[in-house]
Symmetry: C2
Subunit: 332 residues, 2 copies
């Protein structure tokens, strides 16, 4: 647990000033070949690496991109893969940060994380499903699955409306007429669009909208439990459910099973996202795929562009229905 060597240790060992060491390390000129070699030798010997913290405090740039999340859940992790891969051959390192929300923080985790890391530790940030549209950011920002629609910061998202419509229309094509919706985090544009897609598909099929068939899921397993029960408690219970994401779809299935319903025989369920769990689940989940790694990569591209003086962009990527085993034709 001995202290890491600092630039001062290097300077003392090499018998030169701290400034000279700094110059040597950073390849500035104004250092003789002999001194340079000597200093670098000491650096290697001591195993010195400059402190990211001190450097970033002094310098503007750190060459680190931050991926800010509320929580490391599958959705964020898949994005992270894409981000990481896209940053592979750039000089940037990736730093993923999950900030716990302090109790009385009204501004949300993204504000806190941004404020704590931005301007110092990270050169730019990718926000995953932020709960708010960050204003006054100190670094360039790209939001994935943003709070608001295309305005303000740069955004990357899928065509949620089309995806949701496709999912619902697929259930309709299977003969279902009582179709429930376990909706997502209503503060996110994605959840709103998915509900809208659901409604539009119903309307297109001439089915009147029944408010009782929509319950809150909040995109999270824990949050979906009550909603799942609620949907199954409806007198004329739905024969199919379009859940706003895979996590809540999986919870929907779990709750249904708990109540003795078989999926897909007694209840069809469609999710959204296509996280890895979707295909490893039993039964495998019919879902709407978001190209998560590609979305992460797109966010990187935009962010690097912005760091280079470019304009914020708004990218929409396609969503694709993936039919698997959690859906079946409605047997009246």
């Amino acid at each position: 647990m001995n202290r890491r060597p600092t630039i001062t240790d290097v300077a003392r060992t090499a018998g030169v000033s701290v400034a000279t060491v700094s110059k040597a390390i950073n390849g500035r000129d104004g250092v003789s070949a002999a001194t340079l070699e000597h200093v670098l030798g000491v650096v290697a010997e001591l195993g010195y690496e400059s402190s990211l913290v001190a450097t970033s405090m002094r310098r503007g740039r750190t060459n680190v991109i931050g991926v800010l999340v509320a929580e490391f859940e599958p959705f964020a992790l898949e994005l992270l893969r894409g981000v990481s891969t896209a940053l592979q051959d750039t000089p940037y390192d990736v730093l993923a940060y999950a900030g716990t929300v302090s109790a009385g923080d009204h501004l949300g985790w993204e504000h806190r994380s941004l404020s704590r890391l931005g301007g110092t530790l990270i050169d730019g940030a990718i926000l995953v499903t932020p709960t708010t549209a960050p204003t006054r950011a100190s670094v360039p920002i790209v939001a994935i699955d943003p709070h608001t629609g295309p305005d303000g910061p740069a955004t990357v998202s899928v065509v949620n409306l089309d995806g949701a419509r496709a999912a619902t229309e697929y259930l309709l094509s299977l003969g279902h007429r009582r179709i429930g919706h376990l909706r997502g985090r209503t503060d996110l544009e994605s959840a709103q669009q998915r509900e809208r897609g659901y409604r539009e598909a119903l309307a297109g099929a001439g089915i009147p909208f029944d408010p009782a068939l929509v319950a809150d899921g909040g995109y999270r397993t824990a949050g979906a439990t009550a909603g799942a029960h609620a949907l199954l408690d409806v007198a004329d219970r739905p024969t199919a459910v379009f859940a706003a994401n895979d996590l809540s779809a999986i919870e929907m299935i779990r709750v249904a099973s708990e109540r003795g319903l078989r999926v897909p025989e007694d209840l069809s369920v469609v999710g959204f996202d296509d996280i890895p769990e979707a295909s490893s689940h039993a039964p495998q989940l019919t879902t709407v795929r978001q190209p998560l790694p590609a979305m992460g990569a797109a966010a990187v591209r935009i962010l690097l562009g912005m760091l280079d003086g470019g304009e914020p962009e708004h990218v929409r990527m396609p969503a694709e229905l993936i039919v698997r085993g959690s859906t079946a034709t409605f047997a009246a």
Copy 2:
């Protein structure tokens, strides 16, 4: 892109000194109730959050745990989930860092990352499959799937030997006699143990070891390609392959398919890890499961203990054979 508010901004706005703001924020006493309220009001108004960088530079602790990885691949991501979950109800935030290896860095990414973040940004570190046993660390460390065996830093790993033996014995039980091994990163203890388990199983069945049936995979997709080809190039080619991890198992299957071999009909393949891809792959992968989230949680437990003055521990978790579709009986 306006600058984030600093403590100085708060002080100026509130009409007090920086020191007073600091005390107010950190709940130190020596601040009158009136001043406290006023200052906190300004803090809220300005949306001020202390800079993690500046704070960590000045203070020792940051309440941030670092998960240091070479790359965000599935193995690391699954661990990250466990770490994140385990840290949920603690005051610690999680910071995952993937440091790119600078060209001529002999000491490895973990040294660099540790040196750059340790002692300043993070209070403790969890190292994922480090390439070297870090000495002289400035913060408590737990290594997952460590370089060396149980000595030095705290470690978390599975019983690789048993897992590998179980995998190989399963292939033997299916009637296979020519069994290849696509081995892992030979610098890691896990890869060595897995090869040993493979050999012991063969020996136990009275099958002489054939060096031609062992090829290097290096745990990575790209690294496994050549090894996969090599195994299939052997005159009397293996009818089954035990790959040292899932990523190389999947690559093994891809290469086999490319050469017109069907899995599992013509070639059985077993992996190791049970990353999400294992079950979503077609065919689903027979593999040896590592309880990755649990391992991440165990690392957290140990690390928090060490931060609390506890001793380093060495935890071994069980590995379990999961039989799926990539293996079949050998039809002579």
